[in-house]
Symmetry: C2
Subunit: 483 residues, 2 copies
Amino acid sequence: MNRQELKHVLGRVARAFPRARRWPLSTWGLTRDETGELKRGGVALGELLERYRSPLYVVDQARLDGNAARFLATPLGCARGAEPYYSYKTNPVPRVLQRLHQQGVGAEVASPYELWLALELGVPPAAIVFDAPAKTPDAVALAIDRGIGLINLNGRPEIALVAELARARHKRPRVGLRVVVPGGRAGQFGERIETGAALEAFREAQARPELDVVGLHSHVNGEIASTAALEALVNPMLTFTEQLRRELGLELEVLDFGGNLACPTVSRLPERARRLAVTFGREPDPRPPESVLSIEDYLAQLIGQVERHASAHGVARPRIFLEPGRAMTGDTMMLLTRVLSVRGRDEAGATWAILDAGINVAEPVPHEYHHLLAVAPRSAETQRYRLTGPSCTMGDLLYPAWELPELAAGDALAIMDTGAYFVPLSTCFSFARPAIVSVHDGQVEELRRAETFEDLVARDGVRDVRRPRPLGVPAGSRADLRH
Amino acid sequence: MNRQELKHVLGRVARAFPRARRWPLSTWGLTRDETGELKRGGVALGELLERYRSPLYVVDQARLDGNAARFLATPLGCARGAEPYYSYKTNPVPRVLQRLHQQGVGAEVASPYELWLALELGVPPAAIVFDAPAKTPDAVALAIDRGIGLINLNGRPEIALVAELARARHKRPRVGLRVVVPGGRAGQFGERIETGAALEAFREAQARPELDVVGLHSHVNGEIASTAALEALVNPMLTFTEQLRRELGLELEVLDFGGNLACPTVSRLPERARRLAVTFGREPDPRPPESVLSIEDYLAQLIGQVERHASAHGVARPRIFLEPGRAMTGDTMMLLTRVLSVRGRDEAGATWAILDAGINVAEPVPHEYHHLLAVAPRSAETQRYRLTGPSCTMGDLLYPAWELPELAAGDALAIMDTGAYFVPLSTCFSFARPAIVSVHDGQVEELRRAETFEDLVARDGVRDVRRPRPLGVPAGSRADLRH
């Protein structure tokens, strides 16, 4: 058996595994009308593309409102709920942010721009949490002047910075300190509990009369998809609050458990899955959504544990801050795209299709599971496609292996769960960025207009670009270009 | 020996290998003034940052002009030179593109936006080559109407598309066909020579009277850094021209050898180098620039071979098109950045420093070698740093291990060779995008102004953002946010 034959046999074996189980359309708030065309929020997706052009990001407003309400609910048996502050960096679309704020969600900002944006959007300063690995003096000064709810210091280097700016302004900002729980990766973030550095940082902050030390803040590494992952964060944080009380007499008002709750229908693709898809055409298996900790179970476990801990130690129940990102918006947006061109089958039996959306607007797709659906399938039978974006690089391979009904140029596809890290990681690589619309009850609203070619050169000495100085040569052969 | 001790010993061994050899500053057109501060184009880099704020992209105009002149030169012993068409997608900054065009370089465009931009910039249509894996009818119609120099069809699906649009407009566009040389990866590009598909595509195109079939086009996979890599492209292309002449009587006017010539001071970091840097703090070894095929040797070998082949077969010497990207501009730009914050040493003995430039403006740095220099070193001694960007994610790790003089907040660093795929792959992830200036003979010119916060929301229903509808609640506790 030669190499080619071996690959062929291995490919058949790899693809013989059970195909990825398809979840019901209701998983994504989708329906199909009598012609088989997909609808969301009562709007036919094909019509949306006709009206707003392709590609197009589409926000499901009911899903957005629903996720906000779920995060704001008080679990059964708990005294109060948590206080969610949406992680702006995850999907900083002003109209999406405003909608969340109108539901009662606060803002978690991680840069001077995001702080500015939250204030511009009219978010009450008390409903803003300011995180960032290295805060600039200007941004800290603004945060102090406006009296934002909580400034989470990333560690000891920030204590003096914030204290001195506060003293100069005769203010006493509310601060928390970011810590790393035992066994956690620190990277550029926080002070370690296990080395004693976290305790020392609290001692140092407490000694600065300009600082109102109210909070303890931590994130896990990676994502929280299970009870065990949540416990690995909550247990050591609660234990550390006892140490703070015992050794520093510090009773914290706020416990900020950060973000990282998983989006149930999105999961990181293991490197092996990607290789199997590229080499053998095997469609990746998604993680079953029901195996992922839901917003409700996450809140019930987390709040319940904090409340039991407080009552066991006879202390006031702290406020619980959360900074959800992908769990809040990941499944509230999708990306519609059209097939530009279909190429014949390659030697591996896959048909190549080139879409008008690629890594420029769907950066996470090559390394995360994002379900893909035909908007108006031509048939019930499927075949195996390799789907690339429109840019002139082999790296623009979105789906190395995906079963779809037969495709032709112009057909529309829906890439699901694009509400986390698609818009902020989008680029202008060869193409302008798409519009964003929302759908709700059969209504469509434009949240962000599509970028124009003129927008792409608006910062470039416009006079030169729009009225080009003639190069002094008539159109002609290349040699004419030289001066 | 426990795990921690083992890691410590292995780390010492890994770092004991010879340190990356430091090339002379002239490699990058840099000098240091009497105080030790870096200058480029006669301009002190610290002053540049003062004036234009950090981070900042800086174009070296002399280097840009020089690279253009090198690509336009006729090698000794050759009858004529090649015709370079700059790959717009690599660094689509209008003023950079205009400068190249003024030197006599044409435009290689790979999307409707890039085609529009070249025409807006006043590039004569004959000096434009249009590539793209899937061209839209609108863009093809524009290309035909304006009579651009060469439309490279990506394969059979595009033949009918272009022919039909040409017939409707009574024009006869000049087209080439993209092929894949034997053994090459095709991906979404081209037709294979070895399967006969490329020949069939030429036959089909030649049968369409609406098409003026003038060109043969191919790219290699990966980069061309050696004589052998270039031969692997040129030999099979020349052999295929004989087949086209023999079987179709087709004498091609243009051979388009695409791009992919390496930038000598940039190289892809092997996964192993990245792991050694992350785990053991070993600074990656760069590829020696002198081992990389120079522009001059590339041209001499390529043009010489084509001319010898033509003369041996008694045919006219074809025009030679090139589509350089990184070899033209990779080393013509750098990125200046400042240290925002320095954190104490971690357990592995590395000091963490957080910069104001991260993967948002330096996407290639984690996986490519880009030299890094202190603009005004505080000492001759160095220590080991881990350098991250400013965004709130552990993934923003630019340099896991790099020896630098002692750093303090405010210090400036220069990331070298950012003229390929930095600007087009930049994002608005938590931060606005920087300005671009050029330096030349002590003069500074702003090519692109920095993005403002207002720019970032300019497409978002501005009235709502700039004059926020009050949420109807006074600033106060989070509960006030609920309506």
